[in-house]
Symmetry: D2
Subunit: 350 residues, 4 copies
């Protein structure tokens, strides 16, 4: 396989190419030196030229969206699902049986327990037997499993920002017994490209609010990761908010920490060799635009005086490190490519 890959680019299929995750996958894969877009599947846009649906791609892609039944997905080396939750699980088993590897950007394979999945997603899981096989696609947590996986569950955007913020603390056993708190803020692209009054510019602009305080679907995903890291269940309060901007997540994470440990050193050590996590200098305040368009999480660690608390600030681009970029990072790992392949460029600012 590797030798074929050396000669031939990785053939990639994308199912659900018309949402923001799919759009961003197209952008990244068009520039990827070792990948080739083989087919793009969209139910709603089947037959349309990709650059008619996305005029910003005129001159860069000469393909049409296909219906799933017309697409040659089994000829792909890897298929990305950028579909709504609950779609991939119906198509993945057949593709795996054809030796196609899968990276699912939706939530279908993120939770290991099918009962928990059913509880949060409102229907029974269609292939629960695959849940334990799927590798949770956060390389900083799970790199070796991803390398060997047939099926990768690409993490949610909030979980990526929040887990990377807490990971060094939990691995080192430094968080006190109280609840962890993740106060997270996301740009509007996190809600997807569906037509909804709540997501109109006229409703979101000049406005800020929390949502789903009673329980967001990313909560069980983060808790599951915490269980794996700390080997014990950790309570988490997770409050998401929507920011009047397009891209970006900022997670402000709080934990009790006692003692005199040098947290800055702990974070720097944990992420020293990570190409896509950047621990800022003490006193820094990462801003979401500093990662706009790139596959990167920037983190700063603060200890407000006399509070017994650590405050970790974590930013990502929800469509890149929080979705399509991380998916490409996972593809690189699965196919033995340099992990940064196709992901090594500068953010766009301002």
């Amino acid at each position: 396989m590797l030798s074929r890959l050396k000669m031939d680019r990785i053939h990639v299929g994308i199912v659900g190419g018309t949402g923001y995750g799919g759009m961003e996958l197209v952008r990244l894969l068009l520039e990827h030196p070792a990948a080739k877009l083989h087919c793009l599947v969209s139910r709603s846009e089947a037959g349309q030229r990709v650059d008619d649906v996305f005029p910003h791609l005129r001159g860069r892609i000469d393909k049409r969206f296909q219906a799933v039944e017309d697409a040659d997905l089994t000829a792909c080396d890897v298929v990305f699902f950028a579909t709504p939750n609950g779609v991939a699980m119906h198509q993945v088993p057949a593709l795996l049986a054809n030796n196609v590897r899968i990276i699912d950007l939706a939530a279908d394979f993120r939770l290991r327990d099918p009962d928990v999945w059913a509880q949060w997603y409102g229907e029974p899981h269609a292939c629960p037997e695959l849940l334990s096989e799927a590798a949770y696609g956060l390389p900083e947590l799970n790199r070796e499993a991803i390398r060997n996986a047939r099926l990768v569950a690409n993490p949610g955007c909030y979980p990526t920002a929040v887990i990377l913020a807490f990971l060094p603390l939990l691995q080192a056993g430094l968080a006190g017994p109280g609840s962890l708190i993740a106060d997270a803020k996301s740009g509007a692209s996190g809600a997807g490209r569906g037509a909804a009054v709540d997501n109109l510019l006229t409703e979101l602009s000049e406005n800020f609010r929390a949502y789903r305080v009673a329980g967001h679907r990313h909560l069980p995903e983060i808790r599951q990761a915490f269980d794996g890291i700390a080997n014990c269940s950790r309570e988490l309060v997770f409050v998401p908010h929507v920011v009047p901007m397009i891209r970006g997540i900022h997670a402000t994470c709080y934990a009790e920490v006692s003692g005199e440990v040098d947290l800055q050193a702990v974070y720097e050590t944990t992420y020293r060799d990570e190409p896509f996590v950047d621990v800022l200098a003490p006193g820094s305040h990462p801003e979401t635009r500093s990662v706009r368009g790139v596959n990167l999480c920037r983190i700063a660690v603060h200890r407000p005086p006399e509070s017994g608390r650590v405050v970790v600030l974590s930013v990502i681009d929800n469509l890149v490190k929080g979705a399509a970029g991380q998916a490409v990072q996972n593809m690189n790992l699965m196919f033995g490519l340099p992990e940064t392949s196709g992901l090594n460029f500068s953010p766009i600012a301002p």
Copy 2:
């Protein structure tokens, strides 16, 4: 009636009328049925017509900004200071001596301890003897003192949103011993109208970040209020963020709460008679635009399952309930007017 009003209207002076707090005071006082703008002082714009500086006020005001030495401030019944921190304290004693009442929208009289003031504001206080006399102008906390005050220290915008969020909990002694956390988000007008690269649209738009995690000047102000309420010092972690919008503050406030107390009832009871605090129905998520342009704090109380935490969401318009509107509310109290006078209109949405 008209002739009585002509004689009886409160004569108002505004010092520092060219910032956003001053602009908003002008808007509110122009419509106030019992107030009359007597003079507006601005060092930088002295001699200019108000509606040349603020073209949106064309046709509504026929005055010029004056230099402080030309303005007849002692003929005013009340003078609002909407100046930068450290200005009012030099002018207030002489005005008080002339029986002019003062409402200071800056921080000069908010902290009772002159050493704490000097520590956070970087210079010695010019009239420390007035600090204990000044009434902290949060009517929901301090109404009677305000009614009788010569000098009111109008609260900061963040403190207004945060104190109102925690007040019922602290008064009822329901917050556990751990640190309180206030994760606060503000629109850009909170930073004022000064020329600064950091506040350009090109720097703030499509961007989100925290700032001053190591210590914001509103922290000692909130702590002082907490001390007064709970009669004991409470630790607070306060993290401010800037949102790419003009107006609005959203404070997401966390506390430990044990036991089965009905927090919704506690909040509703506390604020039952408050004209400017609205406790939303359980499960609500207040949005900042729901208070845009009006003197109102909307609050929702959440208890995430299994967390032992309460999450209180609190929104205000930082320029109204967080500044000019609250100042007018204080003026109403000081002059025996109905508390809602001039403040009883609908938010503008979308």
Copy 3:
């Protein structure tokens, strides 16, 4: 006085209260000293409390939306239609027969020629016999007809800004024979509150584009008004654009002008007695925020050197002078109230 008002307030019905035009009507009428909201009709929200649908109105209105068949519209003195195009024309004849006056914020009664209407709106008109009776509700053009009208066709938002920009020029016969050009820019609320991918924040924000250059429905409306003013058909090129903001229209209008006429004087004279048109000083550039939330059109007149052209800049709030505010202005005229009643307050800036 209070008892007289209780009896005498105009009873108002609103059909289609859940779009942005309807929301703005509610805001304005709640503060109107001589009007009383009698009923609000919404097909989609029938049975819902108004302040559940629009939480920003909590505490200000204690009514529910009703289905049209449950609403007591015939008991109203006036009914505003804030419905999509093509709805009012089916309900208006019966209401007129019951002596209810009508102000339609949609396009149903704006065009006098039923064939032109059918051509632009894609269906035959349901009551063409009313088209010649309806008064075009631009008071600056048509005040006397409005005073006496049973049925007022409230102008479109673009036509309001564009006609007011060209009116003095056309009335004075000063525009040369070449085409008039109106390059118009609108905030996103002009597109309404419907769920549509094109109007998501993620699609509109950080973006600018023209639309419908080949022909927008406001074009025949403007042309009809020009015909009435200049007594001859004038060609117009009208290009609308969408601005990433919520409220506001800016029309940049171009015409050939020859000779040495003092255009500033012509504009000032034309609008000298108009309460809701403000001609700015020479050299000014009106900004949309200077009219945010208020019923006002601000205009500036420029003559670029050596060009033989006049450039007229005209701004309104599309939801106020471009919709609900103008509708209230028309109501005031129809009921013999002071024209500025309920419309006399300051813009909100920033």
Copy 4:
């Protein structure tokens, strides 16, 4: 020289690296396969690490800004000036004398007539003898001159969008004798990164306005280009506006056109071989986000019925095709590289 270049990357210096043009040059040149950033000059930030000033570049650049006297500019193959107007003209002669080629992103060398320059820029030109030598750096107009130039005057952002919109029409002699009109709209980054109240988010957001209708400095630049193309002076009305967004220019351009000529074919033919101009299909409306971050001008041609007018819609990213990208395109031409080198990637949307 070329043989050295084949082995060694082009050594590049940037003077004025801290504005938005300079930031964008850094982004583009960091990814350029044949260029190497040799030195960055900034008076205000001399001694600072580039990634301390621009944290989004952490991990991508390991250099410091230098004072001009410390920088080894004469060792560069090419120096870009991204300084305010009036700076480059004082430094360019000495660099040219050292065989360093120059690309000036400011206006110093754009106008051929030193009197016109002095009139619009308010001071005498420091090296008028270079004005006739400088090549106007719009490749679509002037490619051969650029290839052979020592000194390139990179066009203004508005002129790039406007000239490319009118070029096919003027070259073909199709525009009628009336004035041309360019109604242009720019994002806020066009005003630069200087601290100015007018450019605060609080002033620009939720707002739209025209500015400098009486005369903008880009007007003589566009006129000069029109003179060169059409071999006769053409009047132009140019009205710039500021859009509440960061990046992007949309020019809506109007001209009289008589006869039945197929304008779509004229435009497609003119730009058939241009790598960075994209003529859209008839009926299209280009949006600014479709060129965000890339070196591209997209154009659509409309003929509103019965108007005798053509409407050309033209969009660019003002910082890329309107500044830094075009500068790199010019560098590629000057050094015999493929014209698209370092500029061949996809826009970022949404």
